[in-house]
């Protein structure tokens, strides 16, 4: 897309409506995809995106050009999504999950065979705690200690929730794969 990031930011800092709209047009799609990952339904994702953009426009003055704009925008969206989850009390009482290995081998399945929409659905089917921590750790790339700090939980809880998320996703992927193959040839032990 043809735009000058610096000019765009400056325009937004001057509260120029055209610049604000352009920022939305350029980054709205990617940021909406993040919102969809952190929420359970589309309406919630739209709310989060709206709140996030309002925050972005209100706090654009605090953005320094020393880091990529997209990185900053993503962090605002993620934080807004976490706030939304907190308000909805989805993140209350996240506990350690005692992961007993169920003996099912985590067969590595390449995600290349799956559509993004399918993967998104798999993530959204996870319990909210697992979903959030999976997003933060696996996709956003936060460390467990950072996640623990962000969510006000222990590092152990973050790890166990993530392990649970990972396990559930593996199972779901295997299941999806079986259906895709039309057979049960990947029968697990």
């Amino acid at each position: 897309m043809n735009f000058n990031e610096k000019d765009l930011v400056n325009g937004c800092k001057q509260r120029n409506r055209a610049a604000q709209k352009q920022l939305y047009d350029v980054f709205g799609g990617k940021l909406f995809a993040i919102c969809l990952r952190y929420t359970k339904n589309r309406a919630d994702a739209e709310d989060v995106l709206q709140d996030a953009f309002i925050k972005i426009y209100e706090n654009i003055d605090s953005f320094r050009n020393d880091s990529p704009l997209e990185y900053w925008l993503r962090s605002v969206v993620v934080n807004t999504a976490l706030n939304h989850l907190r308000q909805q009390k989805y993140l209350k009482d996240l506990d350690d999950i005692d992961m007993h290995h169920n003996g099912i081998a985590d067969r590595e399945i390449t995600l290349g065979n799956f559509q993004m929409q399918q993967l998104l659905e798999l993530i959204r089917e996870l319990p909210t705690g697992c979903q959030t921590i999976f997003n933060l750790y696996a996709i956003e790339g936060y460390q467990h200690n950072e996640i623990a700090q962000k969510l006000g939980i222990s590092e152990g809880t973050s790890k166990s929730q993530y392990a649970r998320a990972r396990s559930l996703l593996q199972q779901k992927l295997n299941k999806e794969k079986r259906f895709d193959d039309g057979s049960v040839r990947n029968k697990q032990l």
């Binding site: 990617k30 995809a33 995106l49 996709i139």
Partner: protein, 492 residues
């Protein structure tokens, strides 16, 4: 345990899958954002200062600083003033004592602060000229200076211009013991307050002469201190008054209402009962409410945050109808009269009252039992006195519960006769009571239009507690009114 490389592989795959993920958000999202931005812009362009908490905080801070500053200022100036008074009083005690030889040593022990305090007295500026080198002999020297003043005065009046005068005086300044008794007594009797103007004049003259006569090396260095006098008025620090809840208002309203006079004929009128055909002892008939209205003016006063009292003057046009009762037909003149006419005629002591029932007596009149509806309208002047309790009194929308009494001054009654004529009864006919009382209650919704204006909607219920007729024997009138008043009011 999972292989770390496997984990990374797993996460990398997910990260890669979502790295470029994009989903077009619906148009409504941008519209919502834009609406919010528009709202922000409006707030920026037209800043409503009273809606800005920051400004309130700033104003509160400034007010607090001013208050504290003023408090400290008053406190300090009050202390200085009090201290000065105390010190002056302390200094006066020895002066009033006749033994001046004791005064001088006593006064030498006083500190410089006391001297300063003395100088604070508005009439003692000349004292401040004396600035001793040693604090211990302050008052001694001052006394000497005073005496020398007297001495100089004496010399100048005798026009003796010998140069030894200066030497004499300087000696007297240095040696306080040389002060003669007469001089001491003069000093002792020099009342600061009484003879200050005289002393001031003398000392000014003497000081200039003394300075001229002394060589520079013998001159003492005196410092002059300036004091700014400030006397806070005692009534400036009034207690902060509580927020004034008193408020006066005037209002105007129009009330469409349903008015039912509840007119009852307890006993059949004479013409009916005496009618040979019917010989009726009772009649049936009832009042039906009609569309009525009241024009209301009111004045009110807010007594406290929630409570208020209000008075008013209203004009009530109460329309109703009366149905049933039949009527009698006179054999004499073929006039007919319905039950109300006859009942009124029974009550009236005025021979001019139309349709005197005696026309229908003993004349072979005929009773016709036909249910007929006639109009029966009233005009009243109403003076309500009500107390109100308001919920949310300072909000945009407030609710008041009202209750009170109302004096209804009877103006007139228009009764439709059997023949279709309108019989008007006024207060002077002495049929109706001039005043009858009603209890009134209501619920009012107030909507604040501006700081001064309010619109209100009041549901009212009024019920008479006394009969509207002077005589309570045959007829009974207990009007009941339901109405909804639309009005505005202005607060002063």
């Amino acid at each position: 345990m999972m292989d770390p490389s496997e984990i990374n592989n797993f996460e990398d795959q997910w990260r890669k899958a979502f790295q470029e993920a994009s989903e077009t958000p619906p148009q409504s999202v941008w519209e919502g954002i834009e609406a919010h931005l528009d709202k922000d812009d409006k707030n920026t362009i037209v800043p409503l200062w009273w809606q800005s908490p920051k400004l309130w905080y700033a104003a509160a801070s400034i007010a607090a600083i001013l208050l504290v500053g003023a408090g400290i200022w008053f406190l300090k100036s009050g202390e200085i003033h009090n201290k000065a008074n105390v010190e002056i009083a302390a200094d006066r005690v020895p002066e009033s004592n006749g033994d001046s030889s004791k005064n001088l040593p006593d006064q030498t022990g006083k500190s410089e602060v006391q001297d300063n305090a003395l100088a604070v007295g508005p009439n003692k500026k000349t004292d401040s000229l004396v600035k001793p080198d040693s604090k211990t002999n302050t008052n001694t020297e001052r006394a000497a200076f005073r005496n020398s003043s007297q001495h100089f005065l004496a010399k100048s009046t005798s026009r003796n211009k010998k140069s030894t005068a200066a030497a004499d005086e300087s000696q007297k300044i240095i040696n306080p013991s040389s002060i003669s008794d007469s001089e001491r007594s003069l000093l002792a009797t020099t009342d600061v307050n009484d003879s200050i103007s005289e002393i001031t004049g003398q000392q000014t003259l003497v000081s200039s002469q003394a300075l001229a006569a002394l060589p520079y090396s013998d001159l003492e260095v005196h410092f002059q201190k300036r004091y700014v006098f400030f006397r806070p008025e005692s009534n400036t620090e009034e207690a902060v008054k509580p927020v004034k809840n008193k408020e006066y208002w005037a209002g105007l309203g129009l009330m469409p209402a349903s008015f039912n006079p509840d007119l009852k004929i307890k006993e059949a009128p004479l013409a009916f009962t005496s009618n040979s055909v019917s010989n009726r002892k009772s009649v049936s008939g009832s009042s039906q409410p009609g569309a009525s209205y009241a024009i209301q003016t009111q004045g009110g006063m807010r007594l406290s945050k929630h409570w208020s009292v209000e008075l008013g003057v209203s004009y009530l046009q109460g329309n109703s109808s009366y149905e049933g009762g039949g009527y009698v037909l006179s054999a004499k003149n073929y006039r007919s009269a319905n039950v109300l006419e006859n009942a009124f005629a029974d009550l009236s002591s005025n021979p001019n009252t139309p349709n005197n029932s005696y026309d229908f007596l003993n004349g072979g009149s005929t009773y016709i039992d036909v249910s007929k509806t006639v109009s029966n309208n009233y005009q009243y002047l109403q003076l309500p006195v009500q107390a109100g309790f308001t919920i949310n009194p300072d909000k945009k929308l407030s609710y008041s519960v009202l209750g009170g009494m109302m004096a209804n001054f009877f103006l007139s009654n228009d009764l439709e006769s059997a023949s279709g004529e309108i019989i008007t009864t006024t207060a002077s006919d002495d049929i109706y009571r001039h005043v009858n009382w009603s209890a009134t209650t209501g619920l009012r919704f107030n909507y604040r239009l501006s700081s001064k204006w309010k619109a209100n909607l009041t549901g009212s219920y009024q019920k008479a507690v006394s009969s509207g007729f002077r005589s309570n024997q045959n007829l009974d009138l207990h009007p009941v009114l339901y109405g909804v008043s639309w009005g505005v009011r202005y607060s002063f």
